[in-house]
Subunit: 459 residues, 2 copies
């Protein structure tokens, strides 16, 4: 519990106007986009600088007050929900693009910068930050660093971690450190950058981020391939990866997902297992890759293959995929969507999707499955009424079964959404005794356990 | 000092035939490819399994005996030299390719497998492990993991760390842990894989490695562009990176390096600043990229541009670049080559090379400069007679000045050779107080300090 005297101290650090205990603010920071039960913080604080964060953490560390960094609030596993109360450190007002180092293909940002806003600025200069999370219009760079976010372009371009060069981090004791540097590659000591990226705010608070960027490709093109069986779509994806096709995205959508898109976006895609492919590069390079992809798809029994080479056609085709999540949501007003996110070795992707389908049928649940097939990363959305206790439990149980099956197939419980609160129960099963090693690093950096408690590690 | 009773215990663990205190064996494991003074271990042990390594570490940990893992011995900063004596754990007989998981584009290897041998096996199956260290014919996968090695293809394909999915590690107390997993991407907990990769054997001993692989491109092509000024070659490289050219290698060689290649390889390249470019992908994609590169080079005053599209022409052209290091060595028999390896933000690459040239002139030293310009990674080779004390000191001093200048330009002291023994003195300057954070992780995992002591951290 945060005391009145502590609140007064917080006000002294950041100013009265940047501290709130109003119900609306506490409620607004009690949920993310997951199914996890809301939990209010005691207080919300909006810092404006690393120095302010440092003072806040020093204070919290002394009193063992939980501190939960909050940026976009779009997490999907309860990652920023303050399950043990305490202080929410709202980072989203620290949203400056500090420096665009064009000559080095680098950018320096504060954690609250939104992904799409950043790329909008960079686009004019011919550069971009590629990881493309699904929630790109709200996801912040700070949140992406915390969760090591990624999305459709990970197949070609990798994940957030691959682009983070340097971080300013405030450690739980208030100490300010800089990890990493401005060189594109380095073998100078331990890779602390990779340790902080993906640590979900449990090791410290990131106050500034330097990213390396990519040059914008000359041309982007897309194709949509329709299959009569999911297994054939997954074989096509495997062959694309196997034969070195450099697609920038390889996405599988099941029939249910395509139906939702048609319904909500007014499209008329064939309601069958569908593969969305995106290519970028030079004009001829893109055309050539698409032709190669067409062959590979045909070899695997593709029944329809549409190409979009103009920007307009691309936009029309691809917006369907981009809006998949929202289309499903809109199709079930008043329901909770329980988002799944597992990643398996690519040869097991088809088996994973089939398992999810069979399970939902057996349990009489609405399930949508789609994912970044080129990486083996499967998303499921199970729909349930929270008020229908039996259905809701079945939905949670099914989500857990899917996670368990991913582990049996040699996969991971979290492909790109992180562990947060919802998946911490699986950590021992995935990591065994190695979890203890993670915990000892947590204890080393945060001996009093104030940073985002109740996350990643099972209770 | 390793006692007789300890040697008897080692013999009991691995068998008498796998323990040696013979002079020739001690000498053979007292040097790497760096200029660092030799230092003998007390004993060399060849383990055959993780269990044997575990028993050896348990024993060493009890007695606080230094343990230095040794794989290819081709390091360039004294990384595996047992500067405090103790046990050399020779890993190179653990050289099995354990499992090629073709369907997942993964391979499982023991640490002693040599890079070229692995890619030779994989090539027949249409796959490869891309990082391509300069010493690919002797570098082992274990050593590459220890040093986070890379080379010419890092510009497009990244470094060793980007391919390591899973590691079996024996911790200094003998505990066996597995970090990472078989999914291509994961956000499940802290990234311990990245922590062990590049830790240069200071945190434990890697006993098995799972790598993800890439599909072999259909076509490889090359070009060589000659410039009359180094600054123009570096501008061309910057523009290649800036405009999204997906070259698989972008290498700059100075005139001296080209001269050495001509002399030793019987080639007749123009002895001027030269840019080697490599492209891979589809046939047309490669041709198109080369034409684009030709334009960018022409814009920057390129005076000659040769293309090699056939395998034969490629081999002839590119073997020159590949043999650069050896050509320099052969040009100076009886001399020591002091290898430099810094990495700076790409806009500073030209300045870095100019600094090195001016310095060597001022100090009357033979210096060769070449590097992975697309990454900002510069290698220098300074030639000196060890017997000529004054010259040798000047050469070491110059190498240090180059490192210092890289730091001033916002770079790193170690681009791809690691810190080892030779660069540990710079770690405080590069990392400041953050070095303490690295040290606390070292102390956490290796409280008795037995693993490769005297490396990475300044004495």
């Amino acid at each position: 519990m945060v005391t009145d005297s502590e609140i007064a101290e917080l006000e002294a650090i950041v100013g009265k106007e940047n501290v709130s205990t109003r119900s609306s603010d506490l409620d607004g920071h009690s949920v993310d986009e997951s199914w996890v039960e809301p939990h209010r913080p005691d207080v919300v604080v909006w810092p404006a600088s690393a120095e302010a964060i440092s003072s806040i953490l020093r204070l919290a560390n002394e009193r063992r007050t939980p501190v939960v960094p909050w940026s976009g609030g779009s997490s999907l596993e309860g990652n920023p929900i303050p399950v043990e109360g305490g202080i929410v450190l709202a980072m989203y007002r620290m949203n400056e693009i500090v420096d665009i180092r064009e000559d080095d293909l680098q950018v320096v940002v504060q954690p609250g910068v939104v992904y799409d806003d950043l790329n909008g600025r960079l686009r004019r200069m011919g550069m971009f930050f590629p990881p493309a999370p699904g929630s790109s219009d709200v996801a912040t760079i700070g949140g992406m660093v915390a969760n090591n976010s990624s999305g459709m372009r990970a197949f070609k371009y990798g994940v957030t971690r691959d682009y983070v060069l340097k971080l300013d981090v405030v450690l739980p004791n208030g100490e300010l450190v800089t990890v990493g540097g401005n060189a594109k590659k380095s073998t100078s000591g331990y890779d602390l950058v990779s340790l902080f990226v993906g640590s979900e705010g449990t090791l410290g608070v990131v106050s500034e981020i330097t990213l390396r960027l990519a040059g914008l490709p000359e041309k982007v093109g897309a194709a949509v391939a329709v299959f009569d069986e999911l297994a054939r779509a997954t074989s096509a994806v495997y062959e694309c990866a196997r034969y070195g096709l450099a697609a920038s995205a390889l996405e599988i959508l099941d029939s249910a997902t395509v139906r939702a898109i048609n319904l909500q976006q007014g499209l008329s895609l064939a309601e069958a297992p569908t593969l969305f492919l995106e290519f970028d590069g030079t004009q001829t390079g893109v055309e050539e890759q698409i032709e190669y992809a067409r062959e590979l798809c045909a070899d695997n029994g593709c029944v329809d293959f549409q190409v979009a080479l103009t920007a307009e056609a691309y936009e029309k085709l691809w917006s369907g995929r981009r809006e998949a999540h929202d289309s499903i949501k809109l199709s079930h007003p008043g329901c909770t969507m329980i988002a799944g996110d597992v990643c398996v070795p690519i040869s097991k992707f088809g088996e994973m999707i089939e398992f999810a389908h069979a399970l939902s049928q057996r349990l009489d649940l609405s399930l949508y499955a789609f994912g970044h097939a080129g990486d083996g990363n499967l998303h499921t959305e199970i729909i349930a009424h929270r008020e229908n206790g039996d259905q809701f439990s079945r939905a949670l149980w099914a989500t857990d079964e899917i996670v368990g099956h991913a582990l049996e197939l040699g996969g991971t419980v979290a492909g790109e959404h992180g562990v947060g609160f919802a998946k911490r129960q699986f950590m021992s099963r995935e990591h065994g005794r190695t979890l203890q090693l993670m915990r000892s690093i947590k204890d080393l950096l945060d001996p009093k356990g104030i940073m985002n408690p109740g996350k990643i590690f099972p209770g």
